[in-house]
């Protein structure tokens, strides 16, 4: 038998259920792997081996007592540090929340614990989920387990869910939670050769997730493969009365209905995504994806999403606008950092606290957001952006009259070297060019590994589905996964 840490969700759950190994053994193996790898990868901000062990012991006890086991019984996962976890520090990777221990548990994490999962620790991320490389974390950047062939330079694990992608790719977590506002699940998944799905907006409750941009934020699973994503999403999703934007729909049995038989399915290839100067390896992997979907029985159709080029500017108005308001609560009054200079008044305390507590990317977005909402600029920016957002959503509606699912690359390149783009915010923002439109439209979208580029770094393919059609996205993802036969994994250097 291979090492326990090589196993994903389905294999662990089934192995525990059959008695091939105990949940406790699995938790111990992962705890050890985390302890060994984290000093090098910096994937976890805090580790919680006791949480993982306690959950595992409950599963073993339940199994011994003959009780039914949950969907994720015995599976140790990493929790992105954007989810509030009761009694465990929750920081959003920001100094302003350093030491903050919530007295409450987010809806999504609670559902995962209820399904029998255990927590290995809180995963690093870009500060307040703002970033594409993990370099904006106040706790140091995550280093991807992947290296280019013949090059030891540290690579970006993607962002903002970079701790999640790195931990799953390095096999130190069986799976991890992510959140996606403009691509924060999909781009890191693509960078690290794993699968990740952002479900339809409203599938997963946002209650207890530190807010970045409320109309875009969605939680989703990041895992070794499509099947694991389906299983984990079933546990995470579901109506929550505490979130007014939560979808009041039953959660389908996605994992049970997985099928890579795409006969009769129409796949759209949007011509606007074939941008000038598209990376040749990325273009080739896209062509591979088209061929695999045809092989699975799908019909490929060229489509147009005419407002695609406006998606990124629209996103960088709406997301910062919401963020500038969402982050106003970090003011030093009730929790988190308080910087109170000698003799300071209230306004001085706000200024000092927020200057010391927020990183520069967070400050940049608060300023952009404040600007686009301010008197005299609101209509030109925010109102206009909302209109364009509607047009982008309409593009997809039109397209989904012709096709069932849309295939694009996930990101314009493979993982870049850390530091390469950190001085140029616009260059960094371009990472989300393919993922942002689906976010603006609230559509389910996932990234699956498609192969390696010529440097030996993973590339992802991106599938976008109709609202509520996670099944269509997962099935197309499974078809690619089976045909890509992606087995590469980072060589252990830590």
């Amino acid at each position: 038998m291979s090492e326990l840490t090589d196993l994903g969700i389905a294999a662990i759950r089934d192995g525990v259920a059959k008695g091939d190994f105990t949940a406790t053994e699995v938790a111990q193996a992962f705890n050890a792997a985390v302890a060994e790898a984290n000093p090098a990868l910096n994937a976890f901000i805090v580790t919680t081996p006791d949480h993982a062990l306690a959950a595992a012991q409950r599963v073993d006890a339940a199994r011994a007592a003959g009780q039914p086991l949950g969907k994720l019984a015995g599976v140790p996962i990493g929790m992105k540090d954007l989810f509030a976890t009761k009694g465990v520090q929750t920081t959003a990777a920001s100094h302003i929340l350093e030491g903050f221990v919530p007295p409450y548990e987010s809806t999504v994490s609670q559902r995962l614990w209820d399904a029998g999962a255990g927590m290995l620790g809180k995963l690093n991320l870009d500060q307040f989920a703002m970033g594409s490389s993990n370099e904006t974390s106040a706790f140091g950047n995550v280093i991807s387990p992947w290296r280019a062939a013949g090059d030891n330079a540290g690579r970006a694990p993607g962002g903002s869910s970079g701790g999640s992608s790195a931990a799953v790719a390095a096999r130190i977590a069986a799976a991890a939670t992510g959140t996606d506002t403009g691509g924060s699940i999909r781009q890191p998944a693509a960078f690290t050769g794993i699968s990740g799905i952002k479900p339809t907006y409203g599938r997963c409750s946002r209650w207890g997730i530190v807010a970045f941009a409320s109309s875009l934020d969605q939680a989703g699973p990041m895992a070794r493969d499509v099947t694991d994503c389906a299983i984990m999403l079933e546990a995470m999703a579901g109506f929550d009365a505490k979130d007014s934007t939560s979808l009041d729909l039953p959660v389908p049995a996605w994992s049970a209905q997985l099928s890579d038989d795409l006969k009769g399915l129409k796949v759209g290839i949007p011509r606007e995504y074939r941008i000038d100067g598209l990376n040749a390896d990325v273009a080739k992997s896209w062509d591979d994806g088209i061929a695999w979907l045809k092989d699975a029985g799908a019909q490929v159709v060229d489509i147009s999403l005419p407002h695609t080029r406006y998606a990124l500017p629209t996103y960088y108005i709406i997301a910062p606008a919401e963020a500038s308001s969402n982050l106003a609560r970090y003011d030093g009054v009730r929790y988190g950092l308080r910087d109170l200079p000698e003799g300071a008044g209230l306004q001085d305390m706000y200024a000092a606290t927020r200057a010391a507590g927020f990183g520069s990317e967070v400050k940049r977005r608060i300023m952009i957001g404040t600007y686009v909402l301010s008197a005299g600029f609101y209509d030109a920016y925010y109102t206009q952006a909302q209109k364009v957002r509607t047009l982008i959503a309409r593009d997809f509606e039109e397209a989904f009259r012709q096709v069932d699912v849309i295939l694009t690359p996930t990101a314009p390149s493979a993982a870049f070297v850390l530091g390469q783009k950190s001085d140029d915010p616009l260059e960094m923002y371009l990472n989300d060019v393919f993922s942002v439109p689906a976010s603006l439209a609230g559509l389910p979208a996932m990234s699956v590994p498609a192969g390696l580029d010529r440097q030996g770094l993973p590339l992802g393919l991106h599938l976008i589905g109709r609202p509520f059609d996670e099944q269509g996205v997962l099935n197309a993802g499974l078809a690619i996964e089976r045909r890509a036969a992606f087995t590469a994994r980072p060589e252990k250097w830590w």
Partner: protein, 497 residues
């Protein structure tokens, strides 16, 4: 129609007033959280994670708050918007945990309506219609406490997130009396509807007073806004002070600055708080945590059907169906509780006396407005803590009605009821206050009075008829007020005739 004018050195000025009334919606729970809303609780004991704006917390609208605001809108004949939306009003302050207030700027829940006022109580037939621009729903902020520590301020979040209706009038008022009457009438309506307790001293209702002055017939002048004025009297004082201050400034050649002002109840004056230049840029935008509020027709209909008879309709009914004077009808409908008390009184009176409500209403209304109100007033009490119940009042009225006691004895009985809380029948029995209709006793008393006052009998017979009342009074006195007045009259007339 109002003739209120400020006499300046250079001529007459007219005052223009608009009120923004913040009314706390009477619900058990806050607008977007399940926390309680009771007044006077220990600081920070009614605060949920949402109210404290902990990371990741989300607002969920409380349907009962929406329902009460819709009922209020219907009660002032307003347009109910089936599609409305919540916006964030962004600003930093220590009593505002989210860093924004959830309010409704662009699409309020309730549109235009109107309130009919009677600016002068003594002229109950002179009414004026004041337009209401809109009613929207929003969160209240917390409270800062500056007296707890020498160098620091403390924050109490009990009020944070409490549901408010902001009721915005049109600039339709033209005198302090109109502003006062509008606020009082609005409070009456809110209390009838039950959407706000109207307790201004507890902060459940407060007004931002917008005042400007102009030469009659000219366009509106620049206005000032005096914030959080918390009584009808203070609103009137604010208008009075602010109008004459503005006239003084303008007549001295100055300009009115658009600004926010504060009312000082101790001096009856206002002072500047901040000018328009210092005004916040609130960066309003639709709250992305909340979906638009869509009301189904059935919901609006249910709200309509749940409304009680409203003050204007009730007042008209008292005048036409019950035959009350306009004054009494006005007094009895000014507070929902007074009207409720009165209606129990006449229902019970009608039952006891075997008459219709219309037949007993006039006597009951006179007794209530002159006798009971006067007596309670002397005791420093109101109907809500009256020792006399409507049932006891009806029993007393029935004793007068069937001749068991006279009207003047009824006054004594009422006093004893207020003192002891006993039923009037018990008091009459115990104190032997029953009216005497025993002709023999009355004749004996009359004879004794006439015998003792032979000289006056002579004068009467000589034509001084005004002495008749003297004989009645002496007889009643001799009988300790218990003689049936009609019989006493008859006997005296017979003896002297």
């Amino acid at each position: 129609m109002s003739s209120y004018r400020i006499q300046g050195a250079t001529g007459e000025w007219e005052v223009v007033i608009g009120l923004e009334v913040h009314a706390q919606i009477s619900t058990q729970a806050k607008l977007f959280s399940g926390a309680a809303t009771a007044f006077g609780a220990e600081p920070n004991t009614q605060v949920s994670l949402v109210d404290a704006a902990m990371p990741g917390m989300l607002p969920v609208p409380n349907a009962e708050c929406i329902r009460q605001a819709v009922r209020t809108g219907i009660a002032i004949g307003a347009v109910i918007n089936p599609w409305s939306r919540f916006d964030r009003k962004n600003y930093f302050y220590a009593d505002l945990p989210q860093g924004y207030q959830i309010s409704q700027l662009y699409h309020p829940l309730v549109g235009e309506g109107a309130v009919t006022i009677t600016p002068d109580d003594k002229k109950p037939d002179e009414t004026k219609v004041i337009g209401v621009e809109r009613i929207h729903v929003e969160q209240d902020a917390g409270k800062l406490m500056h007296d707890q520590h020498p160098t620091m301020s403390y924050v109490d979040l009990n009020r944070s997130g409490v549901a408010l209706m902001e009721i915005v009038s049109k600039p339709d008022m033209r005198s302090p009396a109109e502003a006062g009457a509008y606020l009082a009438k609005l409070r009456t309506i809110l209390r009838y509807v039950g959407s706000c307790d109207g307790n201004m001293d507890q902060g459940s209702m407060r007004a931002d007073v917008n005042v400007s002055v102009r030469r009659p017939g000219e366009p509106f002048g620049t206005r000032t806004e005096t914030k959080n004025v918390n009584s009808v009297r203070f609103v009137m004082a604010t208008v009075e002070y602010e109008a004459s201050r503005q006239v003084d400034v303008l007549e001295a050649g100055g300009k009115i600055v658009q600004e926010t002002r504060l009312f000082d109840p101790d001096t009856g004056t206002t002072r500047s708080m901040r000018s328009k230049e210092d005004a916040h840029d609130y960066r309003y935008f639709p709250d992305p945590d909340l979906l638009p509020l869509v009301l189904q027709p059935a919901f609006i209909e249910e709200c309509r059907a749940s409304l009680p008879e409203l003050p204007d309709a009730k007042r008209a009914r008292y005048e036409t169906a019950l035959g009350l004077s306009a004054y009494n009808a006005g007094v009895l409908t000014a507070e929902a509780e007074t009207a409720r008390w009165f209606e129990r009184l006449i229902a019970e009176s009608a039952r006891r006396q075997g008459k219709t409500e219309a037949e007993v209403a006039r006597a009951a209304s006179n007794w209530l407005t002159s006798e009971l109100f006067g007596a309670l007033n002397k005791l420093g009490r109101t109907l809500s803590d009256s020792p006399v119940s409507p049932e006891a009042g009806a029993e007393l009225l029935a004793l007068v009605g069937d001749g068991t006691i006279s009207g003047s004895i009824a006054k004594q009985v009422l006093e004893k009821m207020l003192e002891s809380g006993d039923a009037p029948g018990v008091i009459v029995e115990r104190e032997g206050l029953k009216q005497t209709s025993d002709t023999g006793a009355i004749e004996a008393a009359v004879d004794a009075v006439l015998a003792a006052n032979a000289d006056k009998v002579e004068q009467y017979r000589a034509g001084k008829e005004a002495l008749f009342g003297f004989f009645v009074g002496q007889t009643m006195k001799a009988m300790q007020g218990k003689g049936n007045p009609q019989l006493v009259n008859q006997v005296i007339k017979a003896r002297l005739g």
